[in-house]
Symmetry: C2
Subunit: 295 residues, 2 copies
């Protein structure tokens, strides 16, 4: 990873942190505790992979920074809300997230439920309020809604829940992850690119191939890390999938083959970017980052 | 109530039922159980007060029916998701809704959580996909997001939760309801009117006064019904507010003064409509309906 890429990444992460704080309702607004809990769920945490994808894809077509920033924050708010709801006792029942108590532990379950609900609404608000022209934003809002809903992220969660203790095949496992995490990663890439211009079918197809590859790679690496890392490194409870008898790439393929698969997916992602030339360098590097990450 | 109004109401309710079914993801789509549960939460229930307000306000400026239909379904999906989440054990813990088992009773808590999350996304999708011009729809999407989020419906829920066993003053009680139910009722009225044209400040102000009055009246009548009706008539558990030691208009004002207040608010609502002339007849009649309803 070049130092150029690393400093770009750091600056995006810093900008996103500031924008997220700006786009959340002020903690002086009523109801204050809800707003404080929303900020707790969103700020000061995570690698901001989705915002990085938005900004990296924005480089393809010189997208305006205000729209990119709003798209990045909208996607991150959707992601953050899904984590808050995911961690609740009726779902994964997790007490630790990004090294901090989860929202329902820090506050209570009802607050966690409302924090997630309100963050989802805020995500659509942040994107809808961009100053960019309306014709530009509407397809982006549609994409975000589709990627978040029942044929996207929520649908993936539902399949995940139904799969505990069930012997999934590799294609079934892939479909589950394509919805659960893949849909929002794909939306991040496409939102970034769409912030710059209306995409051609060829461009969408290339970005789809890239997104699908990094989405799966992301999950394969997640499964590998869950199997080998400890909770302190991950900032969340490790080994939960095995404990919950959830199907994973590691349980289906073994560790070494899972790692190989991640590398292959990374190469696929790189190849898909060829049509974009040098403007895709950051997307290229992000694929590496996703496969090489340690937490 | 004229027979004209009653047949209009019936036809809107029937049309909305068909549209809601069309705008939900098909139950043949994966994940099937989630889609079945979303339909269970939305279809075949409720008085469709919010869609009625959308269509009645649409009469003011001859709004196109496709946009009205989508706005009505979007608002109703937001309302339906809020009921699903509200009924969960960590919130109101209710087993009965519209005379049927609540979603977490019929399915399970995790499904109820996801049904609500996915319905919210679906609401934004349904509105964003309308064929109306983008400049028209974006302010509507912004309004829907604001009315649903932390300074709207979710915020009202948070205040409601924090108010159990707390001695609220009348203004505090009013603020809570203005967010919890008022924001989405207001959005229904404005979305209907905005489907027809861009509103002047005077028009927004008049519709705000109307919405605020019927919103409060709606809640006052709710409190009265909760105090006097039985569960079979209401289709939900009666007497819960008193049992939960929640502040209500009845506990603050008494029954007879609460009924008087509802009548006064109805008159306020009627007066606010004067500037619109005869095109506001259905909005006028809906104010009556809200105050005179028995369930």
């Amino acid at each position: 990873m070049s130092s150029d890429f690393q400093s770009w990444m750091k600056s995006v992460q810093q900008d996103v942190e500031i924008s997220l704080a700006n786009f959340l309702p002020g903690s002086d607004l009523i109801p204050q505790q809800l707003h404080e809990a929303m900020a707790y769920a969103v700020l000061d945490g995570g690698k901001r992979v989705r915002p990085l994808l938005v900004f990296a894809a924005g480089k393809l077509f010189q997208a305006p920074s205000e729209l990119l920033s709003r798209a990045a924050c909208a996607v991150e708010m959707i992601h953050a809300y899904s984590l808050v709801h995911d961690d609740m006792p009726c779902m994964d029942d997790d007490a630790l997230r990004r090294g901090k108590p989860t929202v329902h532990k820090k506050y209570d379950e009802a607050t966690a439920l409302l924090v997630g609900d309100a963050l989802q609404a805020q995500a659509f608000l942040v994107l809808a309020e961009a100053t960019a022209c309306a014709d530009h934003k509407l397809p982006m809002l549609q994409l975000l809604a589709q990627a978040s809903g029942s044929v996207g992220m929520c649908g993936g969660q539902a399949i995940d829940l139904a799969s505990v203790g069930v012997a999934l095949s590799l294609p079934e496992l892939e479909q589950m992850h394509r919805l659960k995490t893949g849909a929002l990663l794909r939306a991040s890439v496409l939102l970034g690119a769409m912030s710059g211009k209306q995409l051609s079918d060829t461009e969408v197809a290339a970005l789809d191939t890239y997104s699908r590859a990094i989405g799966l790679a992301f999950q394969v690496v997640d499964d590998v890390l869950d199997a080998v890392a400890d909770s302190a490194t991950l900032g969340k409870t490790a080994g939960k999938d095995a404990a919950n008898n959830k199907p994973t790439y590691v349980s289906l393929l073994g560790l070494s083959e899972s790692r190989q698969l991640a590398d292959q997916l990374c190469q696929q992602a790189h190849q898909a970017l060829n049509i974009f030339g040098e403007s895709a360098q950051h997307l290229h590097d992000l694929a590496d980052l996703i496969v090489q990450r340690k937490a």
